[in-house]
Subunit: 888 residues, 2 copies
């Protein structure tokens, strides 16, 4: 109660909050998405540019906040303006709301600033009651249509507004069909439907204790409230979290006069894209259903026909639709996703919005639109969601691989994935948490399945088209999806599906090819993606636009090679310890660890030197003159030793060491909080020989490389520095080794010694540390752990609930915590550059590959980001967008 | 080389760096300690105020830096000024340096800004060679004295300047004594000593490859250099670390004409204090030796006579000494520690400085001096080192206890301690590290023993007086010491000592009473200290002066009682989890932890509620209206459960739970980095019931207390907050519980809900957090761990070497890391008060009882500090000093 009162006093009543639109008169326009939501703004705009749009009005998003401030109640002061707009609609159309002769029916739809397909509620045919249904029957000259509309309305209204268990009405419908011996709804007669309505209303009375509202205005207020309420359903909240949509945006409500695609064979309804949303091909693309209402297409209940057939069925309407889509695309300068209804051969536009598309399509469309002079190169960059590139960069199925095909469905979202079959979102989530890969198999998906879809590698549905829920959502997530695969017979009870005579059980492995729609038995080999011309072209534009350099975190020649192929401009982080685990060297590493004198330690290190030197030489060669930043040993030593008694015994035998002494030595390395323990540069303060060996390996590798006539500036990075003194001491030792090697080898080359900034203390004393550093690299993984006091290894137990409680906006290990960790990064940059104006500064935590973090790094003027090789293209694009969007 | 060159260019050659002093003419004065060192400044001052001081000059501390900048070499440009001053000395005294008839001999002594007794080197009798020794023999009419002086000079010079193994000369001397059948040095004749000098010189030639320098000037440059060099000996560095003396202060060098206390029975040398340094009694106090040189007294080789006897032996000199000490104390307004020599009945003052004293003496002297109108009350406060109070606040031996006395020595430094006997500093350090208490037993101590003295509970020596090395150093450390206990026969070889017929072996337990000088067999019971009038009086002054409030960290009624007795103004931190470990409740805590539903959890919590309520009620009662801050549960849950299989089995049986399930549950609580894990307020976000129970226990206890007519404002503290949202949620839940209890009990009282600031993120987002907090309490323990990325439990492995490498100035868990952690504290204070001007802010980490940290907290305007009960008086005094000394 506290909260709502507070909000109430803060909220101002807006001057205008109901925006009317009808031919020749629209109070809103496309720029007003914040106020009208995307749907409302575009309905107004379509009206203005002369398309046929059913008249209506939009209740602005402001009212959503007022609705919640009133404790989930529509404020009374909203109603007069709504009634005024309704009166204008009636005048325009010549029907009256609630009129028993020729009733005006309306749809009530949500519409937020960002598209949230299927997430919120819609009510159609509102205004029908026991009296107006008769009027509709007469005016449409189609009693069956009228009663069918009425029973649909009651079903929707009961579900959405009255929040009844909708399956009760569904079962009643199915019972009636069985009783009548019919298979489809369409086979029910007007009389059947009339009796069904009666049963429905009795059920509503019985379940809710109230009779179904007969007053159209009561229906209207109920529906408007329900749409506002649907903004905060769990599935809408999940969707917003997934897509970074702030909760305070709210939704608008669109009330629009109904047009009917289900008045007979001269009516239809459909959805279409102005270009192919899967490939980007510039070709009108969509689906329609004759004699159907809108939700029949989207819900995937009947499988619709391709849009090209509409040309033959309704040539006139098709012609107009084609004109419209050119107009719309020219107007909005982007690929449009449109909904339309044809009522007795007359085309009505119900919605247009920028269409969701695959990454592949987005790249193709952006390139085509540059060529069509529709957008600039910079605009093209801003059209591509960097994260979406992920789907292009991952493996697809190997065409040469042996495959046993199970079935073929629609190629709804590309990619090649395999995993265990599961049939419920709960199983998908559970197995995913156990580290298993799963394929979610459903007859069709609904918003309740979102969590399972997120958890799954890929989605397979047996029903629904390319614009079905599963297909749209999967494409948005960049997740592989095969939809409408009717050859697949799903049995939820047994948790099996049948295809080509095989019975696939829960837990069996299958493979999906989202680019062809094919489904295979077992695991199929995958291959690396080939990136096409549009990709390269946009990357080249991004490279021209961006200021931030992009490097890769790469420890092995394979990683380095991938990174170069993806356009990395150097290695920002080579973790030398990963090299320590090689089978040929791990025992030498262990001998070094258990050494009790510098002498013993040096003896073991001597064995490692040539291996490390070769490691570094290979990386220098692959990076071919690009900078290579090598981080000296970082993890605590106990990570390298075995811990079980039997392993220790084996090791003791192998290295000829007393078993008990070894056991004791290994136990003595135990730490309570290894993250905060004896690691990083602290090891080198205690055992200087380790870093000295590594510095020598780097220096010798560089000497060899430079002697071959190549150029290179190796960057030696000291981790976990907390104080300037640590770096001062270790820099001095490192420089001494490198100078010594240069003298020995009689070769001269430039090199740099820098440090990670990964502890809060390093950030707040960066001015002191900078005096001994040629560069900084923010280690935002550890900086996040220490700043938040949050162990990455332990926090999974509660981090999820932290994000869902809104305590943290996102997982701070994925996207940088800007106000906490970010403040320290900014402090570190400012202090560092204050001491040394030209200090080179980068970041090498996981955040270096996260687009919203990259925007932050651009804003605080880092010089480069470094990320995993597969994320390099994402980072290149994100860097370009960040440059274009930076705030200062 | 880099470093020295750098320093060289930065250092300016000072205009004046040699300061001459002789009767009627002193170029320096007592205010110039930074330039002249303490000894040099006071020699100049004593000269000015008309005391008899042997003429001489001081080479300023600036030259120390130049000495090191030149790579450990005296710069040539220093020499002319030295020679000039030497010429003035010669003129004044009428002797010439190096003169073969009547040679001027000089002493060369160190003297830093702060007194470092015995830490640096001294050379006496410089200027003697094979020629001048004959002159001295003639002019003194005492060949034995001349040759004895010469052999002493060679011994000292070989040790200090030539860095020879001094035991070689010592052995030669002992051999000679054996050969001559004599026991004391004094029994050797001039001829004996002459032959000894010859042997010494031959040995020097043999060991160093060079002949002993015959040229007095060469001797002088060598000695001056050796004194500068002694600034950086390991023992001097250790001493500086212990006493927070910066390395860059450097030492001055004092060159002074020799006077001799060893010219016969009319000569003497001594040291004295103007008041009793152990009790503070206003009574002249000291020791002297007839016919001896200065180091004979300090080194404790011969046991000296009490100063009162001097009155009888040399009444004239004693009278003058008495006059001098009044003059000096009046002049310096502090108790003085003076050194003097009587040469043929003439008194010479060799040194005066503010005397070191026990805490008890410091309090008494400060109070007496207030009464004597010598100093103000504020000055009195500044005279007491807060840390020194520690020795007063700890137990002394119970006079009622059964005791077996072993021996009685000098009560050199008070306190009652017991521990295992060890005979070497190495053993002391080793056992201390294993958590054992030890008593270091030595014939006498030397600077090499410092580390062992630090490690020991107490020190026992068999030789030396109240001003011996052991006594002086132990008093400075506030460590119990019994000195000069000649009844004790130490045998280093067997590692035993004999006393009263007992043979005490290494490892046996003994008890020392440093206040009586008695030594007891075994462990003797100790009792709490009684604090005398001087203590209370100065505490009252401190309380009047200070701004910072002082609270205590107290979890139990006993702690709370101690805290109140020591003057705590409330509880700043009550750790509720300590209450969870009670035998009567730990199983209920465990049931709560393994609960799988809120329901089960609440059932277990219901059992805990009445116990917690009673805990809090008791604390409220003891604190009697003072604020009590209660921190809700903080540690990770696995700290409360057993981990061994057998314990788990027992627990399962006791609480009637399936053993395997319990084992599984307990294993699932394991964390990799518990410090950064599921703890603090994170527990309450996941399991709100826990804090709700605790809030209810607090609210009910407060209700009961308030109903009894008492006043109280309980402060509920939420730990480990990283984000404002956590506090917002938990504050709301806490407030709801407290309001509910107030309604149930029909009682109204104020209460506060605040938070710990113990994560870097909390500090940098303090403005957001402050909006939901009535107070902040900085948890500087955890803030230090996270800011430095340093686990308190794991860092002992390397923290010592960090401090000794100068990487960290002090252990950051003892004294706050001002530039790192302190910056975040300051940020937190500034941001918090920016959002909420009147925000109450305190600190409850260990640093709350550390004087230098308290100065920091005063400077950043905290409202209070909270520390362990025994440190409350220290904090009260430190707070007062901090107020007087604050910089802004």
């Amino acid at each position: 109660m506290q909260t709502s009162t507070q909000n109430k006093t803060n909220l101002e009543v807006p001057k205008k909050f109901v925006y009317y639109f009808a031919a020749g008169e629209a109070e809103g326009n496309a720029t007003m998405k914040n106020v009208l939501g995307g749907k409302g703004a575009n309905l107004a705009e379509m009206t203005s540019i002369g398309l046929n749009v059913p008249p209506g009005f939009t209740i602005s998003t402001d009212i959503c906040a007022h609705f919640y401030a009133e404790g989930g109640k529509l404020p009374d002061w909203v109603k007069p303006s709504v009634l005024e707009a309704l009166t204008k609609m009636e005048a325009k159309i010549g029907k009256k709301f609630g009129d028993v002769e020729n009733p005006l029916l309306v749809s009530v739809r949500s519409g937020a600033r960002a598209s949230m397909p299927g997430m919120m509620d819609t009510i159609l045919n509102l205004g029908l009651n026991d009296q107006t249904v008769e009027g509709l029957a007469k005016s449409s000259n189609n009693p069956r249509f009228a009663w069918d509309s009425y029973r649909r309305f009651i079903q929707m209204y009961s579900d959405v507004v009255l929040e009844m268990n909708s399956s009760l009405l569904e079962v009643t419908l199915e019972d009636l069909k069985a009783e009548k011996g019919v298979h489809n709804d369409t086979e029910l007669t007007a009389e059947d439907l009339k009796s069904l309505v009666k049963k429905f209303k009795a059920l509503v009375q019985q379940m809710t204790g109230k009779s179904f509202p007969n007053d159209p205005l009561e229906q209207l207020w109920g529906a408007v409230s329900a749409v506002f309420r649907s903004w905060n359903t769990p599935r809408a909240i999940t969707y917003r979290e997934l897509h970074d949509i702030p909760a305070d945006w709210g939704t608008a409500v669109n009330v629009q006069s109904m047009v009917f695609g289900n008045l007979g064979e001269d009516s239809a309804t459909g959805v279409a894209f102005t270009r192919n949303p899967s490939t980007g091909e510039r070709k009108f693309y969509g689906e329609f259903l004759v004699n159907a209402q809108g939700e029949d297409v989207v819900a995937g209940i009947r499988t619709p026909q391709p849009i090209s057939l509409l040309k033959e069925v309704m040539p006139q309407a098709y012609k107009e639709l084609e004109d419209n889509y050119f107009k719309l695309e020219n107007y909005f300068k982007d690929m449009q996703d449109i909904e339309f209804t044809i009522e007795r051969n007359k085309l009505w536009m119900l919605q247009t919005r920028n269409g969701k598309r695959t990454a592949k399509a987005a790249l193709q469309i952006a390139c085509d639109m540059i060529d069509e002079k529709m957008i600039t190169e910079e605009e093209a960059i801003l059209r591509i969601d960097p994260a979406s590139l992920d789907q292009l960069l991952h493996p697809t199925l190997d065409p040469q691989a042996q495959k046993t095909i199970l079935a073929k469905g629609l190629p709804a979202s590309p990619g090649g994935v395999c995993g265990q079959v599961v049939f419920t979102p709960e199983d998908a989530v559970e197995l995913k948490e156990k580290g298993q890969k799963v394929i979610l198999v459903r007859v069709e998906t609904s918003p309740e399945d979102i969590a399972g879809m997120v958890a799954a590698q890929g989605i397979l549905t047996s029903r629904g088209g390319m614009t079905s829920h599963a297909a749209v959502v999967a494409r948005g997530m960049g997740k592989c999806c095969v939809a409408g695969c009717s050859e697949v017979e799903v049995n939820y009870t047994n948790e099996t599906f049948k295809a080509k005579g095989y019975v696939i059980k829960k837990g069996d492995i299958i493979t999906l090819d989202g680019s062809t729609g094919e489904i295979y038995l077992g695991e199929v080999k995958t291959i690396e993606p080939k990136l096409d011309g549009a990709f390269s072209r946009l990357m080249a534009i991004a490279d021209r636009v961006r200021r931030l350099k992009v490097r890769a975190n790469a420890d092995t020649p394979t990683d380095a090679k991938t990174a170069r192929d993806f356009g990395a401009e150097g290695i920002g982080l080579c973790r030398t310890e990963h090299m320590f685990f090689g089978e040929d060297r791990i025992d030498a590493v262990r001998e070094m660890i258990i050494a009790e004198t510098s002498n013993e330690r040096e003896k073991a290190l001597v064995k490692l030197l040539p291996m490390q030197r070769e490691d570094f030489y290979q990386l220098f060669k692959i990076m071919d003159g690009f900078p290579v930043t090598i981080r000296l040993l970082d993890p605590p030593l106990h990570e390298f030793v075995p811990h079980s008694d039997s392993e220790i015994a084996e090791l003791a035998k192998r290295i000829n060491y007393d078993e008990n002494r070894l056991k004791h030595k290994i136990h003595s390395l135990h730490e309570f909080n290894p993250m905060l323990g004896h690691r990083g540069c602290r090891l080198a303060i205690t055992y200087p020989e380790i870093y000295q060996m590594q510095a020598r390996a780097i220096a010798e590798a560089a000497a060899q490389f430079v002697k071959e006539g190549k150029k290179l500036v190796p960057e030696i990075m000291i981790p976990l520095v907390a104080t300037a003194k640590e770096l001062e001491i270790l820099r001095e030792q490192t420089v001494a080794v490198v100078e010594q090697v240069q003298k020995e080898q009689n070769v001269k080359y430039d090199y740099q010694v820098g440090t990670m900034i990964e502890l809060p203390r390093a950030a707040v004393t960066a001015h002191e540390i900078a005096r001994h550093a040629d560069f900084f690299s923010f280690g935002t993984n550890d900086l996040t752990q220490t700043t938040l006091g949050l162990s990455r290894d332990d926090s999974s137990r509660f981090l999820g609930s932290y994000v869902s409680h809104g305590i943290l906006p996102k997982d701070p290990f994925v996207s940088i915590d800007q106000i906490g960790v970010g403040t320290l990064v900014k402090t570190g940059v400012d202090l560092g550059r204050q001491a040394k104006g030209n200090l080179k500064i980068g970041v090498c935590g996981e955040h270096g590959g996260d687009p919203s973090s990259i925007q932050f790094f651009e804003n605080v003027n880092l010089d480069y980001v470094s990320c995993s090789p597969y994320r390099v293209p994402i980072a290149r694009l994100a860097a370009a967008r960040s440059k274009l969007q930076r705030s200062h």
